[in-house]
Subunit: 363 residues, 4 copies
């Protein structure tokens, strides 16, 4: 399989490139009977749209999604749901100059060596533009999980360059262009990004997402652990370079007495683990952090080679994001929801009959 | 699929529990014609064996592997390779007292709620003991990749608690019980672990692994990226809580001018990316870091609940590792090799015909 | 996985219903560099189109295919190929009367009990209309296999009701509405079908397809045999009830001395096996026969039940095929090509290095 | 994937060769809590054992199965079940003479060309001996389906060469060496097989299996139909050349008025379809027929080529079955059960919430 499908029971296959006619997804395995409209999906697409603030790419894409199949009289039928988003504002000319040379930090060179040639327009399949399909699919998972399990996933930017950002008000994250959940820091960020643009540079970021209401028992013991599948999904997002569950990299410095989350009849005493034990959900909040590298497409010129292997120079003047991590929040949420949805279905395939004498402890 | 298979072209399915009669793996899809003996595999099993120093569990397992199929007259036939390791030193009585209560930080509670009951002996399937099968499978990948591509993967412990450890002498890592590649730090570590045991506590660790000689072009563009599959594989190792590629979490604080690895005809000018671009190998070293939490099984008592949900106390006195990260090095190497092997085969399935006019740049 | 994907290396996922807005496919894993245009695919869609003779459904669908992704400057890029065919001539009113009752011999009742409700318009996802996506995907496989391996697949109708039809002139099959390769029988068939329509009845059929130029070695030894995957693909076609390889059901009456195909340096002495040995291609022609049941939608009234389980009567007056097997020929060809394509890629994933000292015998 | 795994939710991976040390299976995804012992599995292995009558191979294998994992205190835990059967009576010398030449009608030549070389002892992985693992896995499916759904599957030989055999007394099939369910024909068969051995020849056979108690709604609409997966499973059995569902090949000669199974509140009026509609189970008996070719290993000499491609002659004098179809009955049953089991789990993954207002009609 060439790798454009995620999930085993709730399977999402996507297609499309930055500058092709359209981007789409096929969602296969959705339970029947879910009320679903194009507006339901559209609501999730808005936050990841570019061109909405001066801090993101100025490409103007309406990102209107069409449901092509799998929904009848307003409800999912159980057959595959075809989703389509047309590309509208694709400017090929922006990319003429990179046709024959590779942008450092981009997939250009790797694609060239893998396939022998490449669609250079906007990075082709490697563009973050194509995640519109993933987010659309995630919206379906979100709706089902919310309605059937009361499960919610919410993300925010927890770091931009040198600035750590707390998740004090997660609900506010979607109302500002930085997906920042610490409103007091907004003026600081505004100033920081402004300076960054003046420098012609870009910056990395870290995104945190939390899923609440995850039932215990999701995930498989060996390879397909819930956290392993989350790591796979997150590292598959453009520019992601690290995935952490719970305390993440900090655990390397922790002691057992400090890390282990004690259990009490009233619930876990802490959540260093981030919601999984042995790779299986514990019923606590599932917490994931994803670190995104700074965009490599910047006006500051850099060294590179051309298709013939000769030295060249490159500077990007097209429409790009100074901080790609900002727009990653809806994608991280979608990925988290897709993985959880898949495991909810997988779990009931095998364990629908299992009943435990142990009460589910409350957080 | 219940999640005990890794890989799509080079597929490894494992089975077995800590205290069952045996642990095994089926390696399906191995290219035919590889010279392979039980000794070849045994060599990779030795480093992860317990009971070899006072810093690891004292369980004594010979870990003798048998090849049950797929090899004829010393060569792989292309049919599945069955591997078996008998459990010898399993002491059930050590676990009687945890039969009815859940060890904090372990999978006990999660398994109970998933399956309705659990094999409590040594953690059952959740024990790190079962990774012997993964390492055995990895040995086959290692041999093929070395012989056909000259590809090598090597790991070491890069952090133990507060101590950061450099990879100055990677070859030395297998010759000390800490898998430490900075020999000057060995006395310090010896002392540190001694004190830890006196405290009845455990400590986290970080492991770094590097694959050299990875050809460019491995990995798929969308979900099954090389780094995504590495993240999946690594997060699937017992106690792993974070996976980083290249500069990892540090990228959140980097600028584009700093992070992007410029290309020159003589090679990449740096390797912040850790060997992948857009999820596809660039030909540079693939670098991965995995953070492991401290073992939760420690003599210091902790709060928990029992199977009925009532409050209880627990302290572990069985044979356990004070720093599970130490023995993870061979597992991290095996996982890295399994993922690369799988992608080598997947790549040639689709792209065996592709030829690029661009020369492969030298590192 | 909800079952709308076929293939492991060359993966085709389809979506769409008879009366939805569009039908589509995502072809994932196509080798890069294949010259491909919409016209290339269109050529394969024509033969399965309805409404072209009085012997098939009178629904008028232009079946214009659009390539939405995966092709750049006329060549496949290696990324997923999105294909879309809009539904144009969907008449919902034809189906109002079957909204609440189940057509015998159709999937109506089974869908109802599986999903709890169903898209009743034209059978929804169960309609043969959706095979347009499969045939479109098959056209891509056909082109690659022809250009790279000189491999061809050709089908014809080998039985219609009581009439057995020889494959004397396979090339002529596409030039008549019966996909008949025995031109002398055309007047007989014309008369037979005319009478059938007068009777308000339908008839079964058997389709034979032959793939020539299949290299030896395709298929896996155990479950994913080439013939097993062909059987899976063919039985997945609407109305298929039997799949035979080579001599098929006749082998139950054969002796070993009669059946076994002797080998000589000049080639196999016969081809009772139909091109596979132990499930792996032998290099001989791969021969498959598929038997299709008669269409159940006929004007002759029949007994049924309604959604509430009460007795009802039904007669079909919409646009239907009196012999669904006729239009199955392009689908059988497409399925055969998809399976072979997938196995060509799978085979080279594992065995690209293998070389046999034995010469490939000539047929 | 090299093809040694069957199923997506209930996944069986097998390994082993005719003359290797052992044959085994890993059953992944079994629901937890099933009472399971080695004796439960052994009971299903007995009927397929060779050497039990003069009509089958005289190889003496006790076929004792060991459960290596996945069962704790007599119940399945939900983790993978490792099964192992040691080979005991493997005589390598029988095969020395076929080391360098290919047996016509066997996989020898195809394996050679696929892998470059082959394990020639007893056909290696291509031997029907390896189906012991499939049957062992099938026994687990049988037990779960019987206990949870009251579902049963039963097979018998419905044709041996020229003799058609009715299924008048299916229960009697396991009590005679011909798996014949028409007891009156036993003397005839005894005589027929005796003469066949005298002729040094072999004969084909057809096996019929029926699953009773299959709930409606199993199977997926497009490719992974229940009947398609059955066809795949059956065609994957050694020597199978045709798979028919319900009326099978006869449907090509049937009219719609004859074939369509009318529905009444009391049940379907007939079962020409064989239990599936649109590929999804209807709740009727699932009926499948599999045609097996005659064994190619016979004392009558035949032409062949050797590894160098030169003409040679071959005659088989080792231990073989004159009618391989006889011993296929338990394998057909196992395959049918494995496919149904997989679809029961898959179905509830997606559709556990679906409820239909339509009553399930009684057969």
């Amino acid at each position: 399989m060439s790798g454009n499908t995620i999930g085993r029971s709730f399977c999402v296959t996507t297609f499309g490139e930055s500058h092709g006619p359209a981007i789409g997804a096929v969602v296969d395995g959705c339970p029947p009977g879910l009320a679903l409209s194009e507006d339901d999906i559209q609501a999730d697409l808005e936050p990841r749209r570019a061109g909405q603030s001066k801090h993101t790419s100025q490409r103007q894409e309406p990102d209107r999604v069409r449901i092509l199949s799998g929904v009848f009289e307003g409800r999912t039928t159980g057959t595959p749901i075809g989703l389509l988003v047309e590309n509208v504002d694709a400017r090929e000319r922006d990319y003429e100059k990179i046709k024959d040379r590779f942008r450092p930090g981009h997939a250009d060179y790797a694609y060239q060596q893998k396939y022998g040639f490449r669609d250079h327009r906007g990075g082709g399949r490697a563009s973050a533009r194509v995640t519109v399909a993933t987010v659309a699919a995630g919206a379906i998972a979100r709706k089902w999980l919310r309605e059937r399990l009361g499960l919610e996933a919410e993300g925010y930017v927890s770091q931009i360059g040198p600035h750590r950002l707390a998740g004090t008000d997660p609900a506010s994250a979607r109302s500002n262009p930085f997906f920042c959940a610490e409103p007091a820091k907004l003026p600081l960020l505004e100033e920081y990004l402004k300076q960054l643009r003046r420098d012609g540079d870009s910056i990395g970021a870290r995104v945190t997402a939390v899923a609440r209401g995850v039932p215990p028992g999701l995930g498989e013991p060996m390879f397909d652990r819930l956290d392993a599948d989350i790591a796979y999904a997150m590292m598959g997002i453009n520019a992601a370079k690290a995935v952490e569950i719970g305390d993440g990299v900090a655990v390397a410095g922790q002691r057992g007495t400090e890390h282990r989350d004690e259990l009490t009849p009233a619930g876990f005493a802490s959540n260093h683990a981030g919601g999984t034990l042995g790779g299986i959900s514990s019923g606590q909040d599932v917490i994931v952090h994803v670190s995104f590298k700074p965009a490599s497409s910047i006006p500051v010129p850099g060294r590179t080679i051309d298709v013939a292997g000769d030295a060249a120079e490159i500077a990007t003047t097209g429409r790009h994001d100074p901080c790609v991590g900002l727009r990653a929040v809806p994608i991280v949420e979608a990925m988290l929801l897709l993985v959880i949805m898949d495991h909810v279905l997988r779990h009931r395939a095998q364990c629908a009959d299992a009943t435990s004498p142990t009460p589910v402890i409350t957080r």
